[in-house]
Structures are given as C-alpha cells and as structure tokens.
Amino acid sequence: MEKINKDGTTYLNPYLGGVILGTVLLLAFYISGRGLGASGAVKNTVAATVNVIAPEHVAKSAYYSQFAGGDKNPMGNWLVYEVIGALAGAFLSGLLFNRLKFKVEHSPKITNRRRLVFAILGGVVFGFGSQLARGCTSGAALSGMAVLSLGGYITMIAIFGTAFIAAWVFRKNWI
C-alpha cells in the first residue's frame, strides 16, 4: 500500500490516508460534537496576542470583541489544543516515515527566496480569506462537507475552482 518517493521516504496510500482522516473527523464529531479546523486557532492566537498588547483595542474592535477581550479566553480554545495536537501528530508521522529534515521545497526553476516570499504571501492571502469565509479548507470545507452543510460545499467549490485557475497563473512556481 505504500509508494516509494524519490528521497526514499514513503507515503500512505491516499485512500487509506483519507479513511484515517475521515475516521478522525468522525470521532471529532462523535466525541466533541464539532469538526476539525486550523485557521480558527490562528484567529484565536492573533486575538490573544493583540489582547495582551492592546486590550482596549480588542474591546473596541468589532471583530476581535466577538471572541476575545473581557473574560473570554481565546487561547483556551478547543481548536488551539487541536492544532497543538496536529503539530505533534505530523511530527510523529515525519519521524515514523523518516521525513524530518529542514528544507525549502520548490520548483527547480525558482530560488529559495522566491518560494519563501510566495509562501508568506500565500499565507497572508489564505489567512485573510479564511476569516471572511468563516473557516478554511479543514474547518469550512472538509468538516462542512461531512455534516452536509451547504456552506461547506460552496466554500470547497470556490477554493478549488479558483485555485485551479490561479495555479495556471503561478505555474512557473510549481512545474
């Protein structure tokens, strides 16, 4: 069921990976009554940081005040713990499959620097969009699709549809 890569490491069969991911998602709904997520933890961390630096700014802001400030504790959030777990789980997988190595992955046609700049920019744009759409690929699209939420399907189509077109624009970075 395993595929040998160029660097000698192996990946799980994608369908097996999908079944594991789906089972974890199912357990998340069964145990905690909610789906998995990632960008929500970033949101809470940002809010917590701003709350420490400028609490009065949080109280005034129409966005932060929804989930931070006052007696709300954004760092004590389920998603923050979940993301800490995800870091650990991915590290374990990297250890198991012998993939732990510092590197910048990019197309041979571009430099490390260009790749990193685009990674940061991509992160900025993705982070921005995830807040507007109330969730990212995991929280809105994947978890949303699992509970058959219309919003999840719409977000999924919007993300993958746009990425398909935009990938052509940025093709030089990848192939």
Partner: protein
C-alpha cells in the same frame, strides 16, 4: 446516548481539550502520512500530475458523512445537534476565491502548512507565519468588510435540501461522484507527464 459524548455529560467537559489534542494528533498524522506536508505534491492536483489532495479529501468527506449518517441511524449521534456553520453566501464565495488564490500562491492550506512546518519544511513555516499576518490584517480591516461579512445570510442550510432529497440519497450520489472522480484522476495521472519533486 444522543449527541456528542462531551455535551451529553458522560465525560466531564474538562476532558474536551485532552480529546482536542488527541484528535489533532490523528489529524496531523493523517495529513502528513498522506503526503500533505509537501506543497508540490498538493499543488499537483491543479496540474494533473498528483491527485493526492482530491483522493484524500473526498475519501475523508465521504467516510465522515457516511459514518455520521450510520451513527445517526443507530442513535449514537443526533445529526440535528451537530454544528452546521451558518451560510453567508457572499462572504463564503468571496472568501473561498481569496483562499483559492492563496492556495495556489503558497501551495498549502492552513492545516497542511502546520504539518509541513512540523516536519521541517521552511516554506510551510513561512505560510503558517503569513497566515497570522493575514488574519491580523483582516481583523484590522474588518470595518470595511463588515457589510460583506454579514451579507447574504441563509441560516444553516444543508446541501441536500437544495436538491430536495434526503441526506442519505445525497451521500449515495456523492459516493458515486467521488468514485467516478477517483477513477478519472488515476486516468489523468497516467496521461500527464510526471513531475519530479
């Protein structure tokens, strides 16, 4: 027992965060082990040389959907009490488009960038760091986007109601579509020139 274990009070809510870490570990493991820590593997979906994203993503979605419906049928989960995010049509579409652009620029989505950073991919770390800036920018610019953020509210609709069919029938059609997509993806993968990464 109906509903999630935590909200039914069988286990103290303070265990919720412990489960969050454990579930997160499963999440991170599944993503990394499937190869989601590699941006060029992920982005392969859009150039047709590697469809791992489509395969993993849709397998996970149908496994979870079918699992939830079976658990609902057996009375272990009450589907109606699950959190279904509210749909704000305009912001979901615009946000999705923005995320799509970020996806093909950075090659990650938030969950996969975490996994990439965990195994030492510096581009993953850069993406993860960029996300904090993006979220911060959105929070600061929120007053300008507030109208868009709240426009097109549709409640919390389920996708099967759009087609006027039952959740079970919708899931069945979804499974058929996903299987068709998997075979199609394997076919395209064979046709497209391999990209070494």
């Amino acid at each position: 027992m109906i509903g999630s274990i935590i909200s039914s009070g069988i286990i103290s809510p303070s265990w919720d965060n412990v489960f969050a870490v454990v579930l997160g570990m499963g999440f991170g493991f599944a993503l990394e082990a499937s190869g989601f820590s590699s941006s060029r593997k992920i982005i392969g979906t859009f150039f047709g040389y590697d469809f791992v994203v489509v395969k993993v993503f849709f397998t996970a979605a149908i496994v979870a959907s079918m699992g939830l419906l079976y658990l609902n049928y057996m009375g272990l989960v009450d589907f109606s009490t699950l959190y279904i995010q509210p749909l704000f049509l305009a912001s979901a579409i615009v946000g999705g488009i923005i995320m799509g652009v970020g996806f093909s620029m950075g090659g990650f989505c938030p969950g996969t960038s975490i996994c990439a950073a965990a195994v030492g991919k510096l581009d993953g770390l850069a993406f993860f760091g960029g996300m904090f800036i993006g979220v911060y920018l959105f929070s600061e610019a929120f007053p300008w986007f507030e109208k868009l953020y709240y426009s097109g509210s549709q409640g919390s609709p389920m996708v099967n109601t759009v087609f006027g069919i039952s959740p079970e029938l919708f899931t069945f059609i979804l499974v058929l579509a996903a299987i068709g997509m998997f075979f199609g993806a394997s076919w395209v993968e064979k046709k497209v020139k391999k990209v070494e990464y």
